[in-house]
């Protein structure tokens, strides 16, 4: 979905928004968009590109997503989170394309009346996103090799353990 600059969906009752972005995530603007006078708590999670994975020096990451189903499945995840931990508003943005070390790959923000819902919903959303959304990550290593995470390099290993990381 590289080249797709922006894709999103909006649910009506509470604000639940999931997006795929090919450009850097403006976390400050996202946070401002969740400002709500009824909110007493706000929790955000950022997933960053790390320079190492399982002993391999990583130079950059490449994310690929199938945006139409990221939106559909992402909406379900946010709706499930809202049901379990009723919040006022939540948004999620996931990057696609080539990302450098330190860049924000995924951002989740939840505003709620009390802190407990914000913390729990934020955790639930990132955990479910990692398991369910059609998003893939290719690591580009310092030695010139590359590999899709959870695929080739898992051969002969417990893939379920790796997915649970």
């Amino acid at each position: 979905m590289m080249g797709t600059p922006y894709c999103c969906s909006r649910r009506s009752r509470v604000v639940e928004l999931i997006e795929v972005s090919a450009t850097p995530i403006d976390t400050a603007a996202l946070k401002r968009s969740l400002a709500n006078p009824a909110a007493g708590g706000f929790c955000e999670f950022e997933g960053w590109v790390r320079n190492e994975n399982e002993g391999h020096e990583v130079e950059r990451l490449e994310y690929e997503a199938y945006a139409p189903l990221v939106i559909v499945e992402g909406e379900k995840v946010l709706a499930e989170a809202q049901e379990r931990f009723p919040f006022l508003a939540a948004r999620c943005v996931h990057r696609v394309g080539l990302l450098e070390i330190g860049e924000c790959a995924v951002w989740i923000g939840v505003a709620s009346k009390h802190r407990d819902e914000a913390f729990k919903a934020c955790r639930f959303i990132i955990d479910e996103i990692k398991l369910r959304l059609p998003i893939w990550k290719k690591e580009h290593y310092a030695n010139g090799d590359s590999g899709w995470v959870n695929c080739e390099r898992c051969a002969g290993r417990g893939i379920a353990d790796k997915i649970a990381d």
Partner: protein, 80 residues
């Protein structure tokens, strides 16, 4: 024989050398399509941690496929 369009993503696209191909298959389920493409492209990935969609709707491995369907094969996901 059914005319099935198969779409590949990430490592599956690299194995197949294409993002999409039209196949004539004796396939009743999504799993049949997966197995057919696996042998066609020499992939070792078991279906257990992969996902499948049919005509842009998430499906199960035992979901039926019909003539003219588009089957999307998703390797193990790794968002976040």
């Amino acid at each position: 024989m059914k005319h099935i369009t198969v779409r590949y993503f990430a490592v599956f696209r690299e194995h197949a050398g294409t993002g999409e191909e039209a196949l004539e298959l004796e396939a009743n389920t999504a799993l049949d399509v997966f197995e057919a493409t696996r042998s066609r492209h020499g992939s070792q990935e078991p279906n257990g941690h992969c996902k499948v969609a049919i005509n842009d709707q998430m499906a199960n491995w035992d979901s039926p496929v019909n003539d003219g369907d588009t089957v999307l094969l998703f390797p193990p996901v790794a968002g976040g």
